[in-house]
Symmetry: C2
Subunit: 357 residues, 2 copies
């Protein structure tokens, strides 16, 4: 078990040594360790080796000039300048919030960025400013649109954070697919089949093999099969892709560059890097602050008190599971998998940073 | 078969006779017949009898003063003043677009409204102004959150319309459930079972009976069962409810009044009427107009050219199916079900309007 502070110090040291400015290394540490705290370890320190290798290959600009290239009072396009996604994304969300401070709401589409970790982090930045936060991103293609044989879209997540009063905030943060890549990997390692409705094989046939992704298969959109309205998951996933990449001038759909060093970017580019989309809305744009918070508390109370179906657990408020993990992590610390520690030891050695995990 | 003009004239006459102002009766006719044209007849003229009966019971304000009650340069709260949903919604979307004209983007939450028909209509209003349009609404509770025994949310649809160049626009318009109420009704009438993953019975157990909704059952959120990530559909559905009703001060979740006259509103109210949420973003806030349109064309070409899985139809662009229906309706006219014509004949008689369908 490691304390949060200890993991942040280690992560900070890694990115500082790569050449990141103090503030950027802090951002990397904050966001990667936040993923660990919230129990989304697939987007946490397990990714450091990939990020390191991307940097080593010259695919990350360690001294980026993240800047607005087009704007109105309520919107902006941000050029991430090839930065680590977290650096471009945090700044983009700040810009959305600055605009919301001025005109009630701000929406920012970001190009020329890379993998940004957990979407929820950026949406939650809005909470301390008495704002609603929205964050989404496209990602390299793993998902087949309804009826498609091939992968055309990423798992393209959406996060929405809404402040409450007495209650903790509402935080929805979800990929627009029924299963995450990480869960498939674990099932594959255990040699277990999965149920239908999650993946298809390289010919586009329904499959129960979690390893099918490695053999040209694809993840299905939220909804699963066409009968269960996978076209709605495809619609939602497409909206994320378009808002993130068509708006900003990033690569969309199948042209998004892979976020690992051992896969080369596609020959054809339709823009620069990958794209994100952020939104902020002031709660006092809609109600006075206290009324808004009371109404959200009332919403949360209503849903928390819903009667469970027989044999089912309590009805949750979006954000509950991650907050429970967070509370436990803060009390008990965070456990890293041996494989992750092995990767981190290697990265530390190559960068000549003390390894102490 | 009836021509679009003929259906609009008839519908206009009905609402004019109820006392609607010329512009409001035109709005009702435009939006109800647009639903017929787009093949979404569950939200078309079949609803006129319900609307008539709601009005007859005094639950609709036929001379509403739809107005902004709070605003910033980029946001507004609109009081629908008990109007027909279409009247409140069209005005609200206009306000969102006016704000986008000023500051790049505009977002409006509307309270004290009622059933607004097809969400897609409002999102598509943005297209002719070179804007992206977003529309959503809450609705009376039919959907059980993940693990819940009871109905707590509506089928809460989301629509997003994005202009293209040579290609017709991208228009996603979908309920956040795997099945629509209308489809369940048809299956029930045919005496057919449905597959699992759509509904649950009054005890919260999975069911294959399409009539279970009439016996206290519920529709499941998009995703279906918890295994297939119905919690993501629940998250999305909740966001629509909160943006539409908590932001605006409308009734949320289980408190949304039923949109039929034979069911009374719940005793407890948490706001006024039902709620909607609208957004508009100028495309030139993100790219110059021509570049934006070219990039959307490129996106659409990419996805239209995706290879289909064996035995599957062509990959569609969101909006394709509705546009095909629209083209056919404009050429061949629109057929109304005998049951709908019977209802309309009754309404016409009661209002002393010529019946000619």
């Amino acid at each position: 078990m490691h304390s949060i502070e200890h993991l942040k110090d280690f992560t900070y040291g890694i990115f500082k040594k790569m050449g990141c400015a103090h503030q950027d290394a802090t951002t990397m540490a904050d966001i990667l360790v936040a993923a660990e705290e919230r129990g989304i370890s697939s987007h946490g320190m397990i990714r450091i080796k990939d990020y390191y290798q991307m940097w080593e290959k010259g695919r990350i600009n360690i001294h980026p000039n993240v800047r607005v290239t087009r704007e109105t009072p309520g919107t902006a396009v941000v050029d991430g300048d090839g930065a680590f996604g977290m650096v471009a994304a945090r700044r983009s969300m700040e810009i959305a919030m600055e605009k919301a401070g001025q005109v009630g709401t701000g929406w920012v589409s970001t190009q020329n960025s890379s993998h940004f970790g957990i979407a929820g982090y950026y949406s939650m930045m809005a909470l301390e400013k008495d704002m609603i936060g929205v964050a989404m991103t496209n990602a390299n293609a793993l998902v087949a649109p309804t009826h498609s044989k091939s992968r055309m879209l990423g798992t393209n997540p959406i996060a929405v954070a809404i402040p409450a009063g007495q209650h903790p905030p509402f935080v929805a943060d979800f990929a627009t697919t029924p299963i995450a890549r990480g869960k498939l990997k674990i099932k594959g390692q255990k040699g277990e089949d999965i149920e239908e409705g999650f993946v298809q094989d390289a010919e586009g046939r329904p499959s129960r093999d979690p390893d099918v992704i490695k053999q040209g298969g694809a993840i299905l959109p939220l909804g699963g099969d066409p009968l269960h309205a996978s076209h709605k998951g495809y619609c939602l996933n497409s909206v994320v892709d378009i808002f993130s990449a068509v708006f900003s001038g990033a690569n969309f759909g199948p042209f998004v560059p892979p976020q690992v060093a051992y896969l080369d970017p596609p020959d054809q580019q339709t823009g620069r890097g990958l794209g994100h989309f952020f939104g902020a809305m002031r709660i006092d744009a809609f109600q006075d602050k206290e009324t808004f918070r009371q109404r959200m508390d009332q919403w949360i109370d209503t849903f928390r008190q819903a009667e469970s179906a027989e044999g089912q657990p309590q009805v949750k408020i979006p954000g509950d599971p991650e907050r429970e993990m967070e509370q436990r992590a803060r009390k008990e610390g965070i456990e890293l998998l041996e494989a992750v520690r092995q990767d981190l030891r290697e990265v530390a050695q190559q960068l000549d940073v003390d390894y102490n995990l």
